[in-house]
């Protein structure tokens, strides 16, 4: 089988590792570009949110390159994402592509379905469950290392002396991690990357603002979608902290660690799960405020209901906890210049707030 999968941040490097080691050929998903988006927009329903369009564009690009099977996640609950892989399948079929889409729903939703799909992939590659487990653990390690290296890059970039130097080193790091095959090599790669990033010339005397990034998972994780919000802010000298990492449940050292506590934290404002990352956006804003962050930026696809619900609750959270929130709504019409202006104005607002202490009174800004 020639397998491909969605592109989301840096995770494709670890997924590629897993699929390859299970004996399959991988068609790596290219990083989304305007061409990807154009392809997706052309064939997707106009009213669908931008993740559907971008994934469709990605699938069309990997099918052009010869992929015959696409592995993707499904979902249950009110967010439309659970419906999307089925819709993708129908659209691709209408366009004349005879590809197989394997959809993984959350395991606890249907254990039998989950394991039979993994079994299918393992058996097609001629591997055993034992080998799968070994490769899975190595790939998970790779995913963790990718996240570790990225987190470090976000800590270094606001202090860099030369704009762009961290990003350059980070791109080299991704290549190094990609090349590492065994557990030992992956751990070595981690050490090398951490050393390289720490060697980026920095000005430690800066006292950067701290901004938390919340919102819907795909636009949060995929820099092309969020107009590189993290890098843009960090190059303005702001520390950003992203609420979502794929490996976060294994992390205890970051602010937002388990989903359970997020629901509990958000409970005074929202008592129900509303699908997607809606409730997380509320809970994370509260946690960022409690942890001394200067502000929060919500990135959400246009028409994303969970984030719209969150957005309508956020002004109250913002007012109660005195933490400014900027909401950026993203679709294929969003222009970088508009996002840049709002980010600059938001950073000015936060700097003034920091200078004048508690005098400020914050609300949700943007649109």
């Amino acid at each position: 089988m020639k397998i491909s999968f969605p592109h989301m941040g840096t995770s494709h490097i670890a997924f590629k590792h897993l699929i390859e080691h299970l004996g399959h050929e991988v068609v790596p998903p290219p990083a989304p570009t305007s061409r990807t988006l154009d392809l997706g927009v052309k064939y997707a329903p106009e009213f669908a949110c931008v993740p559907l369009k971008m994934l469709l564009g990605t699938y069309l690009e990997v099918l052009e390159k010869g992929a015959d099977t696409i592995i993707t996640s499904g979902g249950v609950g009110p967010c439309r994402a659970g419906l999307y892989p089925h819709l993708h399948q129908k659209i691709l079929k209408d366009l004349g592509y005879d590809c197989k889409i394997i959809i993984f729903d959350p395991p606890l939703h249907n254990l039998k379905d989950f394991f039979s799909k993994i079994n299918y992939i393992i058996k097609k590659g001629g591997k055993s469950w034992r080998q799968f487990w070994k490769e899975f653990k190595t790939s998970w390690l790779k995913l963790c290392v990718l996240d570790d290296v990225e987190i470090l890059s976000h800590q270094v970039r606001p202090y860099e002396l030369k704009k762009g130097s961290t990003t350059k080193v980070f791109k080299e790091c991704l290549h190094i991690v990609d090349q590492a095959q065994t557990r030992e090599e992956i751990l070595d790669a981690k050490r090398i990357c951490e050393k390289k990033l720490k060697e980026v010339p920095q000005d430690p005397s800066r006292n950067p603002l701290k901004i938390g990034i919340i919102g819907e998972i795909y636009v949060v994780l995929e820099p092309f979608m969020n107009m590189d919000v993290e890098i843009t802010l960090e190059e303005m000298g702001v520390i950003t902290h992203r609420s979502i990492y794929l490996t976060q449940w294994s992390r205890q050292n970051i602010i937002v660690n388990t989903e359970g506590s997020i629901y509990k934290t958000a409970y005074p404002y929202l008592k129900k799960k509303i699908g997607g990352h809606g409730i997380n956006s509320i809970g994370e804003t509260i946690l960022y405020a409690r942890n001394g962050f200067d502000g929060v930026i919500q990135v959400a696809p246009f028409t994303c209901i969970p984030e719209i619900v969150a957005k309508s609750i956020l002004p109250e959270v913002s007012k109660d906890l005195n933490i400014p929130v900027l909401s950026l709504t993203i679709d294929e019409q969003t222009a970088k210049a508009g996002v840049q202006t709002r980010l600059e104005a938001f950073v000015d607002l936060l700097e003034q707030k920091r200078l004048h202490g508690g005098l400020n009174y914050a609300r949700v800004s943007g649109h």
Partner: protein, 319 residues
């Protein structure tokens, strides 16, 4: 005598002001950008040079507006600031204690909320232009009325009609319908002003705590009908400052003045640049499928700025 230059290059107008160290406006210009920001900026500088007192020495320059980076590179700006911050600084200096700024320009509209002189919230229009000056331009054209008479006619209305203003196209059909049912022009114009304000408050002003003193600025503030409609819908007095149409440029000039006070020195290239030969070239980068349009800006044949890339490959390296 010391002067500070502020430049606001927007999509519709290019504004230049010179203030003195006590923030008195010495010169101000409001020019149409006409899609030629570099040329208009050079003309503006030439005009300023001719108008201003020869004793005046420019000690600092600030730029703002959507063309802030371009104009900053051309004149050698000390401060390049986004228009939200620039407008807030100008309004809070000109109208001490201001708590709400309503700003409507040709193609964008924004609201800025201040408390104790500090910006606490802001919003800009994103998906729709039905709350901006272009909306009025379109409808004035449809009614064959000069846009400068629009406001006075609106104030003569006795019974403003209700016009669906969510979208300029539907507003137009609704307006034609009202004409055909026999409403007079004044009432229709007043209805349009109310439609614009309703749209602005529902979109840009949604969820904002609008408290007095309220300042209304930007090109559309010249329209007395819109001011009237704001006052009617908000129930507060709305002030239009003397230099309402160049407030962004004033903000940029104030920032340049503050920058000079803190740091001294200026990167201003002088008024001579109005005769320099500026040109822009572009090429399509084929490094990836994004195919970014990279823009090079030249001054007398030397490259002074470059931008347009998504990845930063071309942005870094030119100071």
């Amino acid at each position: 005598m010391q002067g500070f230059l502020g430049i606001d290059v927007g999509s519709v107008s290019t504004n230049l002001v010179i203030i003195d160290e006590n923030i008195n406006v010495l010169e101000n210009l409001y020019l149409r950008t006409k899609g030629q920001p570099i040329k208009v900026l050079q003309e503006g500088l030439q005009l300023l040079k001719e108008q201003m007192s020869p004793q005046l020495k420019i000690m600092g320059v600030g730029t703002t507006g959507s063309g802030r980076v371009l104009s900053g590179a051309i004149v050698g700006a000390d401060v390049v600031k986004n228009e939200i911050t620039a407008h807030a600084i100008a309004a809070s200096t000109m109208v001490p204690g201001v708590q709400t700024i309503l700003e409507i320009g040709g193609q964008d509209s924004k609201i800025i909320i201040l408390r104790d002189g500090i910006v606490t919230d802001f919003a800009m229009n994103t998906v729709c232009a039905a709350g901006t000056g272009s909306f009025l331009d379109q409808q004035a054209d449809r009614l064959h009325i000069d846009i400068s008479e629009f406001g006075t006619l609106a104030l003569r209305a006795t019974n403003p009609v209700r016009i669906a203003g969510r979208c300029t196209v539907f507003a137009e059909s609704d307006m034609i319908h009202k004409q055909q049912t026999g409403h007079n022009t004044e009432d229709i114009i007043a209805g349009l002003c109310e439609a614009l304000v309703r749209n602005y408050l529902n979109n840009v002003g949604k969820g904002k705590e609008i408290l007095p003193p309220i300042v209304f600025q930007g090109g559309v503030a010249a329209n007395a009908g819109i001011k009237w409609a704001f006052e009617k819908q908000l129930g507060f007095e709305v002030q239009v400052p003397k230099y309402f149409d160049v407030m962004g440029a004033i903000g940029a000039a104030i920032l340049a003045r503050n920058h000079y006070r803190e740091n001294g020195g200026s990167k201003f290239k002088g008024f001579e640049i109005s005769t320099s030969d500026f040109s822009a070239t572009s090429f399509e980068c084929d490094g990836c499928a994004n195919l970014c349009e990279i823009i090079n800006i030249y001054q007398d044949g030397n490259i002074i700025a470059r931008w347009g890339g998504r990845c930063g490959k071309w942005d870094h390296g030119i100071q």
